[in-house]
Each structure stands twice: as C-alpha cells, then as structure tokens.
Amino acid sequence: MTGLNKIKSISEAVAIVPDGAHLALSGFTIARNATAGAHELIRQNKKDLTLSQCIGGMDVDLLVGAGLVKRYIYGGGSLDRFGPLLNINRAIEQATIEVDEFSGLSMAMRFMGGSLGLPCIPIQSLLGSDLLESLLKKEKPEVKVTECPFSREKMVLLKTLQPDFAFIHVQKADCEGNAIINGPRWDEDAAKAADKIVIIADEIIPTELTPYLVEEVRIPACRVDIVVHQPYGAHPTSLYGSYDYDYDHLTEYVASARTEQGMDEYLDRYVRETGNFSAYLEKVGGLNKMISLKADPLKKY
C-alpha cells in the first residue's frame, strides 16, 4: 500500500552521516562493493569513522586509504587474486587505525544478533585462537568466554553490532526501498543490523512490479531510510547478473595502492577531482567500458 518515495542523491544520503559515525558497507573483496557510497564519503571528507564488515572489500580499503577511518571491525579480507587490501594492511601495520579482527562467521553472528536487537550472541569458533586472545586483551573486550547454562559447552559470547548506517549496493530497488539482492547476500544481516539503511540501487523498479519479484526482495522497505539510484555504482567490483568486475581498473587500483603516494594520486584522480560518480565512470572508460562489462544473461557475469 505504501508509496513513500525515499529516493535521494548520493550526496544527500552521505550528508546525513556525522563525523565519528559507525558504518557498514556492502563490499566483499571484489563483489558488490558500495563504491559510489565510499567515493561520496571521501568527497565529503567524513572523519573518524568506525567501519564494520564481515570480509573486507575495496570500498573500505578506499576509505582507509583516504584517512577517514578510525576503527575497523572485520573478519579478514583481500581483493582476491588482484592482491591484498593494501591500505587496510598498511594502516594496521602502522597502527594508524584501531582494528578488531574477527572471523567471517563471528562477524556475521555479531551483525545477525544486532539485526535481531539482541545485545549479545554466542558462537563456538574463535576458541583457542590468537584472534580471541587479542580481542580479550582489548581495553573494553567485546567477547567473553563463558559456558552454556544448559549444555555446559564452552562458547564465546559476542557483543552484537548495530552500525549507525549501512550503505548497501544492490541490483534493484523500488522507490520505497524494497531491495532485491541476487546471488550471495553476505551483507544482508549487516544491513538489517544498522539503525539506518541506505540502499544504493543500480536500477530502480516501479513499485507496482515489486509484488511480482517478491521472492527476490531481501530487505523490506519498512527498514530502509534512503534509496539512491546509481547505475554502475559498484564499479570496479562486480554486480552479479548486471556487470563483471573491471579487471583493468582493479589491477590499476592495486598497483596504485602499493604506496601511500600512489594511493593519494589514485584518490585525487578518480575521487577528489571527479565531482560525482558519473564523472568517475567517464574517467574509467564511460559507456564503452560499461558495455564491455555487461553480464551475460545466462552466466550472470
């Protein structure tokens, strides 16, 4: 029944994020990154952000490289065979960010618990590892080794995560915010854990169509605060069923990110000096490039 139009521009969406906020981005290595969201956060020069993510993606690597991040809570990550998350690794090595390093499932459980409004949730991995030891040594540990009062099994109680904002790139959404994610959905619980959800959709579908695609809707409008329309907004990462990753650009990114200076030049060239994401898309090859990345309708890449 509802027909609220929640569509805003990416700059309006990012403008609501205060310095110091806790954000979750949708990226997972080189897939479905919230690149358009990350670029705009850099353009608006947000400060002292906390970022959380199951597995690191290029979107957060960009933010760390741009110096926006104070703390990063994640479960490890890379850019797959393109290379490591060079900015994140460098920032950890130089202690320029605070890092909370978990496993993939423990991050997912922290988000899932947060999405359910639970203050804590148990898990039975992490036990016996140095990941756990490091987390227990923190000033305010967000993990606690305990035992189940029923089975007496050992378990780790995890403090759940509720980011202030989630920026989630998806294939399709209607203007109310009903969001379709095709393919794996590593970020669904992080989205639902957040207090405010910003959906960045490659394609906006008419709300009349939503009931016919209902089985693909993963995040309901009633949890979504803002919808942004940004075609190719996950570039240079892939969007399953829509477009492939940009091999050339990812290769260029990793080469640039090897040094701080190279990263700074990359950010100047592709983010700071482009006033908006459309200008970025032009700079990386425009229409011809995007046509070349178009997914095969059967293979989905």
Partner: protein, 255 residues
C-alpha cells in the same frame, strides 16, 4: 621429478580428491582445493557438495576465476545465502565434512597463521586474516591443508594462531571447547602428512614420487613424526590426469 608424467600440482589435486567421500559437504577455496573437489566429483564422489563461505552452494564453475568473490565461481549454483546460511546453518550445525584451508604458516600441531608475520622485533606485515578460516578450522569434521612445502611456512609454532589445529602438546581442542575434528591431512608439493591424534603432532604419511626424505626433513622447521617405512604417495591415474588436463583445468591456470 622429470621422470614422472605428472606435475606436483596434479599429484596434490589427486591426493586431495582421494580424501573426499561421496555425498560429503566440502567447504572449498579457489585453486587446488576446488580442483581436488571437482576431480572427486568426476571420479568417485559424484554427489560431493561444494560450499563457498560467502553464501554459494553447489555451483558448477566453467571459467577460471579471480577468487571466491568472482561470480565465475557461482555459476549454476543451486542455493544462495549468506555466511549464516553456509558457515552458520551448515558448518556450525556440524554438517561440514571437510574444509580445505591454506595458510602463511602451519606449525607442528596444525595451527594456521594467515594474519601476520614479523619483519623485525617491533614491526610486522599484516595479511588476509581469518575470513571463514577460523570458523572452518574450529567446526568442520576434517580439515585438509594444501600448501607449498617450505621451511618458512612449516615452523614449530606459528607467529599468530589464526585458525587452531590441535593447539599444543596433547591435542587441546576438547579442553578449549572446539567441536570440529581438527586437521586430518596436509598436502604439500613434497608429501602428504597427517596427525597423531593423541599428541596432536604432525606425522609424515607419504612422500611424493621422486622426492627424497632428506628434502622433506630439510624443508620442515620441526621434527616430523614418521613410521619406519614411509610409502610413496599414490601417483595420479591416467583417468585423473586426463580429467585434470582436458576437462577440469584445460588452460592450466590452477595446476
């Protein structure tokens, strides 16, 4: 090794394949683990189910991929979900039979480091971290580690225990509360190793054809348990070599 009609990648894939039983649920990564699983599917284990941790179940990839996040790895998947739907309701539920893992370093107790390496007394390099590795090492019934046989990678103890094996002397998994079975095999380019479940220590099981025992001892940073006779690793069969070269990895990108 030139006298053999197979590469070390091929014997590793065949050795990995042999560890898999029909109908098992296997968490695989890209590269050799995936090749080993597909080889098993094409030979003795047609009903093996492959699970990719980020939420992809039972895909049938046909093109070489840049990693688990490459949609080439998701082709013709039969279920999409999230970490919760793979590492949660399959792995943590106790339904993963085998998890394949790699690492920067493995120690004599099968503990894995994928997080960091010291470069000097007060500096270190940071690497990929856990991903689902810690969860898989903690909870799968069996772990198979595939890696290069190199002294720097096979040390008495890891610099950082990202994903526990048997933890320390005497197999401490039960004591710390881990429910999974721990590492069962380490497959390198020189040998296949297992573990003495009581002490939790690594044990040499077989040596690849053409590799000398001394070569293994020299390239292992701790004392390997071993029997008085160490057999030779089974060479890949003609059928396996045909499948690997013509069907599974025709462009030779992985092996």
């Amino acid at each position: 090794m030139s006298e053999h009609n197979f590469t070390m990648g091929e014997i590793m894939a065949a050795a990995g394949s042999k560890e898999l039983l029909d109908g098992q649920n296997v968490v695989v990564g890209i590269g050799l683990p995936q090749i080993a699983a597909i080889l098993a599917q094409n030979t003795h284990a047609p009903n093996l189910c492959m699970i990719n941790e980020q939420g992809v179940i039972d895909p049938s990839p046909v093109d070489p991929a840049m990693g688990m996040a490459d949609p080439r790895m998701w082709y013709k998947a039969k279920h999409f979900n999230s970490f919760i739907g793979t590492l949660g309701s399959i792995l943590h539920r106790g339904k993963v039979d085998v998890g394949f893992l790699g690492a920067l370093e493995v120690d004599q107790y099968g503990n894995l480091n994928s997080t960091l390496a010291a470069t000097s007394s007060n500096s270190f390099r940071h690497f990929t971290g856990s991903g689902g590795g810690n969860d898989i090492a903690s909870l799968a019934k069996n772990i198979i580690i595939i890696m290069r046989h190199d002294k720097r990678k096979l040390q008495a103890s890891v610099q950082f225990n990202t994903s526990p094996g048997y933890i320390g002397e005497g197999n401490l998994r039960g004591k710390v509360g881990l429910k999974g079975g721990g590492p069962s095999r380490i497959i390198t380019d020189k040998a296949v190793m297992g573990f003495d479940k009581k002490s939790g220590r690594m044990k040499l099981l077989s040596i690849h054809p053409g590799v000398e025992l001394d070569d293994i001892i020299e390239n292992t940073g701790f004392k390997l348990l071993m029997g008085s006779q160490v057999p030779e690793t089974r060479a890949p069969t003609e059928e396996e070599l045909h499948l690997l070269r013509k069907v599974i990895d025709p462009t030779g990108i992985y092996i």
